[in-house]
Subunit: 515 residues, 2 copies
């Protein structure tokens, strides 16, 4: 008994939370109640009942069927109902007159054949792809036609039946539209607007979460990838939100379809507001989200870059991803505030940091072994210049020159040349640095490889001969996983260009304010 009470209480709390989450739900419910009450009054009061008669029950049916959550959907359904009823009325009157003229015997045959014909044709038409949104209208044509023709046949005077039905439907539609628009209207356009902005935020959140987890993970708590790819990932709320946006194309389209029916309202003050552009922006955003899904796949794949390697690129990766997320969020914010800011500075910064990431990774296929060894700080104390001198005495002149150049540069860099190289790798290269400058740095690194390799061989001795390459092969796999992650990140950034374009297009067409 106490359990039942507790269950009841829990249930009531659930309902309360549900209502509180979105107050529009309560408003919508009360509006429906009010609308059906209004039309019912036409029958309950004596005066209107004497005017309209029992036909007014069609108004109730109309309100119950037509009343939708948003204004646009109600208009859309009302349009379907009105046009459908009108067409059905015209057909019905025409057929009924023809049947009447053809005599008592032929009449039922004509009516029967016409019903079959209308049923088949409307059903076929509503399957036609471009007519699918008007499915309800075809249904209305069918049943209104049947009702008028049949009751006309039994009660005579089909024109009167048709007219009575049409005006009672009109009353019902009128009440439904008035209540829906005048009392706390819920606009499909507003919902679409909010929904799209939410998608921007969830893609940005998901990207950040994904990258954060990638750089956080120290490999200690890396469980086997869940048995199903469909896992809930309870510790990744943003990912789950992002995943749900991937399946939301239908919702955006439905909302846009409804929004097209709405008059200018609230913040959307001009006619022919480009609601279909919202769907397009949503689609481009979804294409960006596919890359996030792929990033998430790398994050949870079994082939994993070791922690120290990921950490080596931490600053570049997190800089690029944070700026990308920031750009996505600021695009979403712009849409939300209906502003049109040129994102050039953000975009430029993002491109610069992505290029930096790209360059860091480019060097990586050469520096993997070295940088990795240095990152683990095992070999950092080795006397690099000495070995280089030993080498240079036997190699050709050009090479010895280049190595001398390397030494000089290394000395310029500070007292611990290896650490300098390592740290310049970790620290983001200042944006002001020219490409030539950084290419030169890269060169130095490239040249320093052979001597370093030799260095390792010399000091580690024979025992490592068999072990080292194996370790390196593993390291290279790991490096490729990292490379995949960064490539996907870079591809994500590349797609942001398209997103910026799509948002610009939307801003232009929707006449957002310039800043």
């Amino acid at each position: 008994d106490g359990g039942l009470f507790a269950a009841c209480k829990g249930w009531i709390l659930d309902v309360w939370a549900f209502a509180k989450e979105d107050k529009n739900r309560v408003i919508f419910s009360l509006k429906v109640g009010f609308a059906v009450l209004l039309v019912s009054l036409l029958i309950l009061f004596q005066a209107p009942y004497e005017v309209f008669g029992t036909n007014i029950i069609w108004s109730i049916l109309t309100v119950a069927i037509m009343f939708e959550y948003t204004v646009g959907a109600t208009f859309n359904r009302g349009f379907n109902r009105a046009l459908g009823s009108l067409l059905a009325g015209i057909f019905a009157v025409a057929i009924a007159q023809a049947a009447l003229c053809s005599g008592r015997v032929a009449e039922p045959y004509i009516i029967g054949i016409s019903i079959f014909f209308i049923g088949a044709v409307t059903s076929f038409m509503k399957l036609w792809p471009s007519l699918v949104p008007y499915e309800y209208g075809f249904r209305v044509i069918l049943f209104t036609f049947c009702l008028i023709v049949v009751s006309g046949y039994r009660m005579g005077n089909p024109v009167r039946t048709a007219m009575e039905r049409l005006y009672s439907i009109a009353i019902g539609g009128f009440v439904a539209v008035l209540v829906n628009v005048l009392i706390f209207p819920i606009w499909a356009g507003e919902q679409l607007h909010k929904e799209l902005v939410n998608h921007f935020d969830s893609v940005a959140d998901s990207l950040e979460e994904c990258v954060r987890k990638y750089l956080e993970d120290d490999g200690s708590d890396h469980p086997e990838f869940s048995k199903t790819v469909m896992d809930e990932f309870p510790d990744e709320p943003a990912y789950r939100k992002c995943r749900s946006t991937l399946n939301s194309s239908a919702k955006l389209e439905t909302l846009a379809n409804s929004a097209k029916w709405e008059p200018p309202h609230g913040r959307f003050r001009h006619f022919f507001y480009p609601w279909s552009e919202y769907v397009k922006v949503g689609a481009v955003l979804r294409y960006c989200a596919y890359e996030v899904m792929a990033l998430h796949g790398v994050l949870h794949s079994e082939i994993q870059a070791p922690y120290n390697l990921r950490i080596a690129f931490q600053s570049e990766i997190s800089e690029a991803s944070n700026q990308a997320a920031e750009l996505v969020r600021s695009l979403g914010k712009d849409i939300n505030n209906m502003k049109h800011t040129l994102q050039t500075s953000l975009l430029k910064r993002l491109h610069a940091s992505t290029e930096r990431l790209q360059r860091a990774i480019d060097m990586h296929s050469y520096l993997l072994t070295t940088s990795n060894h240095e990152a683990t700080a095992e070999y950092s104390s080795k006397p690099l210049p000495k070995i280089a001198h030993t080498l240079s005495s036997t190699l050709s002149n050009d090479l010895s020159n280049s190595l001398a150049d390397l030494n000089k540069n290394g000395d310029l860099g500070g007292q611990e040349p290896t650490l300098t190289q390592n740290s310049s790798f970790l620290l983001p290269v200042p944006a002001a640095e020219s490409y030539h400058e950084s290419m030169k740095k890269q060169q130095r690194r490239l040249y320093s490889w052979p001597s370093r390799e030799v260095d390792d061989f010399e000091l580690d001795g024979g025992l490592e001969m068999d072990f080292l390459p194996r370790m390196r092969a593993l390291e290279s796999t790991a490096a490729l996983s990292l490379a995949t992650f960064t490539s996907l990140l870079i591809e994500f950034v590349a797609r942001l260009d398209h997103l910026v374009e799509a948002v610009d297009e939307l801003a232009k067409m929707a006449k957002f304010k310039h800043y």
Copy 2:
């Protein structure tokens, strides 16, 4: 006038093609016509009209509203309509009796308040996520309740009104269900089955197409990536099909929801057939398709691996992808034929060739420069062993030993050591070859690197000093693009494990025949 005739002709041909594409469309249309004709006959003929009276028009309304494309959807709608009407009838009779007992003055107030209350409560309930599929049922409750209560108020005897309405609705529902089930039934289950199998095929096709284009593309006709990511890619029909499957989750769910209402039929002969498993398999398949989308992204990204590099891995990539596509297709075929074959042999082969691809790529981060140079056949004539000897005379003992070892291995490999290395890289390593064996080969390659590097330096001279690293940096970028492509391919294969599992689960639950 001739133009009008031509337009008409084109339009008729379109309709004809549309009907021919899926004959079920025509069947459905004719069935709807037949069903409405059947209920109309109940009014058109004198005998049934005398029995049922004008209330029978509710049957027509019911048929028009209930008749859906598939059997399952019709059952579902029928259930909604039946239960909704029944509940509404019970509520209405109870309220009407209470109103009657409370006297002439209070009656309209009680009726009005009850209408408002029912309107608000049903509208709120249909927003509750788990009740959304029964949206139509709540609509039915609302309007049936209003109709019975209101007309009961005006015509008296609400119980009789309710009963008459209920049995005419029952007649309509009965006719709709009978016609839908007995005459060329269109089963939602069958549609779902076909749809899922199609998805398997389109994912497999899309993967193959993507990989083929990646390996085909010789860089000459590489246009800038389309202005919008949403481009139609007219030369990639499979990609477009695959993309549309990504948005089809709603369709699969609707079909599964309908299929649950269907009795055992055709090939699906046992009760409680696991239709929801189809949705799960579809979801896992969609996760595989995300990887195909990412592959497609790499295919069209601006950072592109050069043709000769891609070609170097051609056999491994195309072997792995063809086997992956084959596995997907054979899973689809199994579902189609309702067979349960263990895909172990295919899966083993796929894993072996994926491992081969993986290994080839692993070695790559070391061999990139060399293999690439060799692939372009510019440096293949260089006397490698000689240089090694020059080097070994000055370096420490350990290193000279290892290089001697390298020479010996190189000599064992054939008369043209560089070409051998290159070709062993291009040809797939036989699956029988042990891991140890291939690791040894890899070692040899790793060790040959330093001397090769030195070789380049010595022979190319000072002019190349500035140019070479830059070229190498570019090459490394390219290599990373290739690495990303293969990583995504490998991730796709990893997800196929989950797909195989999901299909196994489906096969078990649906009791597919074992082979």
